[in-house]
Amino acid sequence: MTIKEALEKMNTGTLSSVELVRSCLKIIQQKDDKIGAFLEVWADDALAKAQEIDEKRAAGETVGELAGIPLAIKDCILVQGKKMTAASKILKDYQAAYSATVVQKLQDADAVLIGRTNMDEFACGGSTEHSGYQLTRNPHDLSRVPGGSSGGSAAAVAAEMCLGALGSDTGGSVRLPASFCGVVGLKPTYGRVSRYGLIAMASSLDQIGPLGKTVDDAFRILHVIEGKDAADATSVTAVPTDISFEEKKSVKNLVVGIPKEYFVEGMDRDVEACVADGIEQLKKRGAKIKEISLPHSHLALATYYVLMPSEVSSNMARFDGIRYGATHGATLLEKYVTTRTAGFGDEVKRRILLGTFALSSGYYEAYYKQSVAVRQLITNDFFNAFQEVDVIVGPTAPCTAFGIGEKTQDPLTMYLADIYTVSANLAGIPAMSIPCGTVRGLPVGLQLMAPHFKESMLAQCGNSLENNL
C-alpha cells in the first residue's frame, strides 16, 4: 500500500491508522529478524499516536498531511528523548536532547514514527555493513547488501515495514540504497530541507531525503519536511514542492540530457541496458533525448573523497567523551584518544585520518583547497548543461546490490559504487533514484537530476515513468 492509498482509505474510514500500524508491526516481527532494518521499534508510541489520530479523524477534526502514516527514521536524525546513535558505539547511551526540525514537522503533520533504522556508522559507507550494531540485508536477496548508508530505511520501505522513511544523503546515501532495494529515494536541493537535528557527516554535502514506494509518496514526505529553518543557516526559502501532479504528468517536449561520460567501460552491461530502456520510455512519451557532456565527471569521485573526509574529520571532533558519549581514560588526552579509538569503527577512523591528512599543513593546498576549486568546475558543468536540457538522466549505480562482505576488504572498491551519485551532492542539485527494472532478480535504479530547486522536474519525469504515461 502506498501513502496515497492509505490516506484515501483512512479518510474514507475503510482503514484505521491503528490497523495500518499494527500490520506494519506484524511485518517487522515476521521479517526483521532476517533483514535487520530497525535498530529500535517504537511500537507502543506508534500505536498510541495512531490511536490519537484515529480519534481526531472520528471527531471530524482537521488532521495533518501525513496523518496516521507509519514512517521510519534513520538513526542519525534526532527524535527527542529517544536513543539515537548514528549506528556508532561512541553514542551507545545517547538520548536525543531535542528533535530534528524534520521530525517536528512530521509530528506536526500527524505522521506516526515507527522506529529508527540501521545505517553505516555516521553515514560513512555505501552498504550498511559499517554499522556498529548489526547487519542489514537486502529484502530482495538476503545474501546481498541493501546499499548505504540509509540501508535500513530503504530495506524497511522495500519490505513493507513502513510506508516511507527518512534517510540522509551526502554522496548518494538515499539514492544508492533506493536503487539496490527497488524503491524511490530523493535527495533534495541543498538547502531545501533543514539539517537541524541531523547528526552531521559532511555539512556542505548532507541533505535529509525521503524514501518511498512511489514518486508521489516521496514527494508527499518532502512537501512536509521542506522549508527554511531559522535553526539552519544553510536552509533557504524556496518555492514549495508542488505535489499536485494531475496536470503535470506528461514529459512531452521535456529535454532530457544523457551524459556521454556516464556510459563507459566497467559498467554492468545488463544494468546499462535497463537504464537505456528507461531512457527509451521517456522518448516514447515525447521527451527529447540529447547527448550532453559533463567534462569534469571523471574528477567527481576524487573530489568527493577529499572534501567529504575533510569535513568528516572536523565534524567527528566533537565526539570526545566529554559532553556525551562513552568515555574511557584518565587524563584529558587519554580520554580523547581511548574514547575515540574504542568508540569509532574502522571506516569512520579511516575517513578521519584521510580528512586530517587533507587538511594538514603542507597538504591543505594540494588536497582540500584544490578539491574545493574542482568542485566549482563540476558545479559549472551542471549549470552549463542545464542551459540545454531540463533534466539529466543516467544510472544511479554501476551495478546491482553486491554480496555481503564482497567489498569490505578494499575501501576504494566500495567507494567506486558512488561514482554516479556524488556529483549531485557536490553541485547541490536535486536528484532522485527510481526503480527501472531488474537484472537477475535485483532492482536497478535510474537517476534523475535537475537544476537547483527544480524538484518538480524530477517529479514530472519520475511520475511519467512510474505510471506508464
Binding site: 545517547y94 543557516a233 574528477l299 574529520s313 575515540r340 584521510l354
Partner: protein, 100 residues
C-alpha cells in the same frame, strides 16, 4: 610523499586523537595510499585563481547577530542526562592544564 606516510600515520593519529596500533598500521597505510593514489588525479587540474575565498563570501549581511535564547526545559533535561560527569548545573571536565 607516500614514503613519508608511515611516519605521518603516527602524526595523523596524534592530530586525529586516534590510536593506530602496530597491527593496524600496515593495513591502514595500504588503504590510505590506495585512496590517495586515486585522488591524485586532482593535482593535474590547473585552477585559475580568482581570489574568491570562503571568508570573503561571508559578510555582515550573511550572518545573524549572536543572541542568547533560553533552552526549553525538556531539552535542558536531556542535555544534562547525557553528560558523563556533572556537578550541579555544570558539566564536569577533566583537567586541561597540568600543575607545573
Amino acid at each position: 610523499m607516500s614514503q613519508n606516510l608511515l611516519f605521518n600515520l603516527d602524526n595523523l593519529g596524534e592530530l586525529s586523537r586516534i590510536a593506530v596500533s602496530s597491527q593496524e598500521k600496515e593495513t591502514i597505510k595500504t588503504q590510505l595510499e590506495s585512496i590517495l593514489g586515486y585522488v591524485k588525479i586532482l593535482q593535474e587540474v590547473k585552477i585559475e585563481e580568482d581570489g574568491m575565498s570562503h571568508r570573503e563570501a561571508l559578510t555582515k549581511e550573511t550572518l545573524r547577530e549572536d543572541e542568547i535564547k533560553p533552552c526549553d526545559a525538556m531539552s535542558r533535561t536531556w542535555l544534562f542526562e547525557n553528560m558523563p560527569r556533572k556537578s550541579g548545573d555544570l558539566l564536569e571536565v577533566p583537567e586541561v592544564f597540568e600543575n607545573v
